[in-house]
């Protein structure tokens, strides 16, 4: 009995103060959760490369930027960095030697991540196995290669400072705001950019085109946002990658698979509450394209032949596999890029622990010409409760020249 008490005592001691946690386990684990919420892995991992070892080519309007290695490798990673240097990078956008970083690294968002949280992320990164992967960090062309240009950019567009909760709102809303606006940097994709690559703050989360995808409006708008989603549906989408109406695909598939599906449900709920309470973009509903329009008639014929076997004749789709097109805000985005792209190239939906199937739509670009794609997408955008602008064949043509290839073969392998 005494012997057992001794073991119990030792165990309690181990749970206690910092000295008894030499591996910094508790903080590192919190840092890991924060790194997941921030989805660091999405940008800091090359296709097929080691996680967080960098080397992904980010295409910006100013040129390609290669993401750095953030494993704790001394020579090529952050092995020699200190907590203070890391916090300065996150909060001020400066490299270890003080050089200016480009805002492709979303420090304008991370600036409001608390110091406690940046420290925890740093502690977590230091627990990773170091991976040697020297990344070429000088890929931008002149004059953008001059990092000091960022001094001017920062003075115009960067507002450093800590996160201040809004006392008018609940702690849950404020937690959601912290995650969406800052750590999760959702605006980096979902907010339109100005000519300098900075966020248009007055259009926050109202949707944006990025890498030939539409990052949709995620305000509480009825026409093109989350207006018709419940808080539960937003949580379900982030956790499972799908709701009754839609399946995450494209870049959001990665976000769901690597980040949100692994986040605690309380955080997802906070995000949902925040997004639902924040307000709506107030997108005007455009005039419907009439059924008599030739594009609608051609589009309907194509839909019946090509799409209806899966999405069903009335656009209701099939639960868990084929997204509903009827009365769907994703379909009604003012920018139809994602819809056109999916028809041209096909796409694979998210696979999660709850819904592992990861269903795919095949490419139809090989047998529908630009006018036909424009017609069928116009038809979908103006049927079964949807009203949205028609699609121009020129947009299809341009997009076709930018996106290539069917659903990636490698996905399942």
């Amino acid at each position: 009995m005494r012997w057992r008490s001794a073991i119990l005592f030792a165990a309690l001691a181990a749970i206690g103060g910092a000295k008894a946690d030499p591996d910094n386990y508790v903080i590192a684990r919190r840092g890991r959760a924060l790194a997941i919420a921030g989805d660091c892995v999405a940008c800091h991992t090359a296709p097929g490369g080691a996680p967080l070892a960098g080397g992904l080519a980010l295409a910006t309007p100013f040129g390609v930027i290669m993401t750095p290695n953030i494993t704790p490798d001394d020579a090529s990673g952050i092995g020699r960095w200190t907590k203070v240097e890391f916090a300065r990078a996150m909060h001020e956008g400066r490299g270890r030697n003080g050089a200016y970083l480009y805002p492709a690294f979303p420090y304008p968002y991370f600036t409001k991540v608390t110091r406690e949280d940046t420290d925890a992320i740093f502690d977590y990164l230091k627990t990773l196995a170091p991976v040697t992967n020297a990344v070429n960090r000088r890929t931008l062309p002149f004059p953008f290669s001059v990092r000091a240009l960022m001094i001017g950019w920062n003075s115009l567009f960067f507002k450093p400072g800590p996160f201040v909760p809004d006392p008018q709102h609940s702690p849950e809303f404020n937690r959601g705001a912290y995650l969406v606006e800052w750590l999760g940097h959702c605006g980096a994709c979902h907010t339109p950019l100005n000519a300098f690559g900075a966020n248009k703050a007055d259009q926050f989360l109202q949707g944006n085109r990025i890498d030939e995808w539409t990052a949709p409006d995620i305000t509480n708008d009825q026409q093109s946002g989350l207006g018709k989603w419940s808080v539960d549906e937003v949580v379900q989408y982030l956790k499972n990658g799908q709701t009754r109406t839609t399946t995450a695909s494209g870049p959001m598939r990665d976000v769901v698979e690597h980040s949100t599906s692994k986040m605690p449900e309380a955080d997802l709920r906070a995000i949902a509450v925040y997004l639902k309470e924040r307000g709506a973009a107030g997108v005007p509903v455009p005039a419907a394209v009439p059924a008599s329009d030739p594009r609608m008639q051609v589009g309907e014929a194509i839909f019946v032949d090509t799409c209806s076997a899966c999405h069903t004749r009335n656009g209701a789709g099939i639960e868990h596999l084929f997204p509903r097109l009827a009365d769907n805000a994703i379909v009604r985005q003012s920018d139809p890029t994602t819809l056109v792209r999916i028809v041209l190239t096909g796409v694979r939906g998210a696979g999660t622990d709850v819904f592992p199937t990861s269903p795919a739509m095949p490419s139809f670009g090989y047998r529908l010409d630009d006018d036909q794609v424009a017609a069928v997408v116009t038809y979908i955008r103006n049927s079964w409760g949807n009203t949205a602008s028609p699609v121009d064949a020129e947009l299809v043509k341009t997009l076709r020249s930018h996106v290539a290839g069917p659903v990636e073969r490698s996905a399942a392998q």
């Binding site: 899966c310 868990h320 622990d353 709850v354 490419s363 996905a411």
Partner: protein, 587 residues
């Protein structure tokens, strides 16, 4: 040079239905599992594009997803007095190739065998006496009963989302179901498929003749379904591209739709595709398997050590791997001794083609297991006394497809080409249907598998030799069934019918059935079986062999339901074995 890889807990040979189920169930417990598959990776998203999957020439005629004879073939003869010759183009049966195996291209009929089928020898003996059995037969009871397998049939049906109508739930006969089936605990997971005009005619006609028609249990499913693993399926669109095709609509149960999505998420699972296992390696005393050897796509040889070897290839290739590895004593018909290769069996096909004067069957609106059946003449559901044969058949009205290249029946006497043929095709296409009997085949002393003395594969290993022919018992049975089919066809209102009988020796050329069974059968006696009742090798207790190779003889049903049930049944035993290794049946 053979290179040895780090040890795994479990190595699985072949990643089809049985391999994928076992891989998932074992890797989810934390075991390190590697599956070695001879063909390529295949997945719905990447390989079965709805725009290209319904390509009859590519898949049905040119066998795109089937095993290539160059990879492996068999030699074949009808009896031991002949010299076997290699099959150079697959015909009578079509083995699959690649991840998913034949579970990719199957039609999807998912039956349970009847309680009598599992104790056929005892049952027939009790009811009819020894005289009922044909000459030189090897008919033997299964070492498991229907009741023992019932929960495992249920598991597989719920895995695959099978659409059907129960006929006997907890002993209560259900109207509209099969009244002859064994007692089941609950109904099918999804309701039966919508039937076509021919099936409605059959149902009326067969009922009028006193039979008990019911919808076939189908893996082309009727409504959206998410299985207990979380994998989702969509309702079948009746496109008629099932058999010989991968399903692009997530509507046909397959390893791709039902298991792989969860299997590939298991961190302790690994698949090595385009790697062919050449042999199960044995310890010096031959009593323990140490792993497998395989050759990768580049021709490099590897050795994969493992604690347990699960042989999950197609039935025929399971038998060959055992023969090549020296597991179990090879069967010799001359002495009637040995077990590996013994009791190879197949199936019969007979029936009646029915030509109507005025009908519109729309046979292109079809699915692999769409159809209705009557089991009144299956197994021992009828008195065999007056007929002098053992076995039976499931009698069906089905439309699996109306595809343009291979579906254009014409009345007998029509020329094979030219304007008259074209006219006959045009006149007949919408007005023809059939009533068919898929019948059992018993096991016999001279129907068996062994290694060919002459022909070898590209790796220098002997090909397997198949010695098989239908025996009088099967001809009698199949031809009696053909007459029953014809009666129904006429009662359906056919203007003319053509009776299709089983005549002449079995030929390897026209397609008949990919229901090859036996050769590594399960049993209670090591002198007449390769495996014990848990599908564990009698001789090498860390080797388990899945699949229809375990059937002691074949029943009048498609085999996959029973293969799936046996897999889950064996899984429980494998888990027991892992806790306490050794033979699970002591003699």
């Amino acid at each position: 040079m053979v290179r040895r890889l780090p040890r795994k807990d479990v190595v699985i040979v072949g990643l089809g239905w049985t391999g994928s189920i076992l891989a998932y169930e074992l890797s989810r417990t934390g075991l390190e599992v590697v599956a070695i598959e001879r063909g390529p990776w295949r997945d719905t998203a990447t390989d079965f594009n709805i725009g290209t999957a319904p390509d009859e020439l590519r898949y049905a005629v040119r066998h795109d997803i089937f095993l290539r004879p160059k990879q492996e073939t068999l030699t074949m003869r009808n009896n031991p007095s002949q010299t076997a010759l290699p099959i150079r183009k697959w015909g009578s049966f079509l083995p699959g190739n690649g991840v998913g195996g034949a579970g990719v291209h199957w039609n999807g009929q998912t039956w349970r065998f009847l309680p009598d089928d599992f104790r056929i020898r005892s049952h027939m003996l009790e009811r009819y006496g020894e005289g009922i059995f044909p000459e030189n037969h090897h008919i033997q009871d299964w070492p498991v009963s229907y009741d023992e397998l019932e929960p495992y049939y249920d598991k597989f049906e719920y895995l695959a989302g099978i659409s059907g109508k129960a006929g006997n739930v907890k002993g209560r006969i259900q109207p509209g179901g099969n009244p002859f089936e064994g007692v089941r605990e609950r109904d099918y997971p999804t309701p039966p498929m919508q039937q076509g005009y021919a099936q409605n005619l059959f149902t009326k006609a067969a009922s009028g003749l006193g039979l008990h028609p019911f919808p076939r249990p189908s893996a082309n499913i009727s409504v959206a379904y998410t299985n207990p693993y979380g994998c989702s399926m969509a309702p079948c669109t009746y496109c008629g591209f099932c058999e010989r095709f991968g399903c692009a609509n997530y509507s046909k149960a397959s390893p791709q739709t039902c298991v792989l999505p969860v299997l590939v998420r298991q961190p302790t699972f690994e698949a090595r595709t385009e790697c062919e296992v050449t042999k199960v390696n044995l310890s010096g005393d031959g009593k323990t398997a140490t792993g497998v050897s395989y050759v990768d796509a580049a021709g490099e040889e590897w050795e994969q050590p493992a604690d347990v070897v699960l042989v999950c290839a197609y039935a025929l290739f399971n038998v060959r791997l055992l023969l090549l590895s020296g597991i179990g004593k090879p069967y010799d018909p001359a002495s009637n001794e040995g077990v590996v290769g013994r009791n190879y069996a197949y199936q019969t096909g007979s029936g009646s083609t029915a030509f109507f004067e005025d009908a519109k069957f729309n046979s292109f609106a079809a699915a692999g297991s769409l159809g209705v059946a009557a089991d009144d003449y299956n197994s021992d559901n009828f008195d065999h006394g007056p007929h002098g044969f053992v076995g039976g058949a499931s009698i069906t009205s089905a439309h699996t497809n109306g595809r343009p290249i291979q579906f254009h029946p014409t009345p007998q006497g029509t020329p094979n080409w030219g304007s008259q043929w074209k006219k006959a095709v045009r006149d007949t296409y919408q007005r023809v249907t059939s009533v068919s009997a898929q019948g059992s085949v018993m096991s016999y002393r001279n129907n068996y598998l062994d290694l060919d003395p002459t022909y070898k594969d590209p790796l220098g290993r002997p090909l397997m030799r198949m010695t098989f022919d239908y025996q009088d018992n099967e001809r009698k049975m199949a031809n009696w069934m053909a007459d029953r089919c014809d009666e129904i066809a006429k009662a359906m209102g056919a203007k003319t019918t053509q009776v299709n009988r089983l005549v002449g020796p079995w030929s390897v050329v026209p397609y008949q059935s990919t229901h090859n069974t036996g050769g590594a059968v399960m049993g209670s006696d090591p002198k007449t079986s390769v495996l014990n009742r848990y599908l564990q090798s009698w001789d090498v207790s860390n080797v388990f062999v899945m699949g229809a190779s375990a059937f002691p003889q074949n029943a009048g049903y498609n085999p996959t339901g029973t293969v799936g049930a046996l897999t889950y049944w064996s899984l429980d035993a494998i888990k027991k074995y892992l806790k306490s290794p050794g033979p699970l049946v002591q003699l």
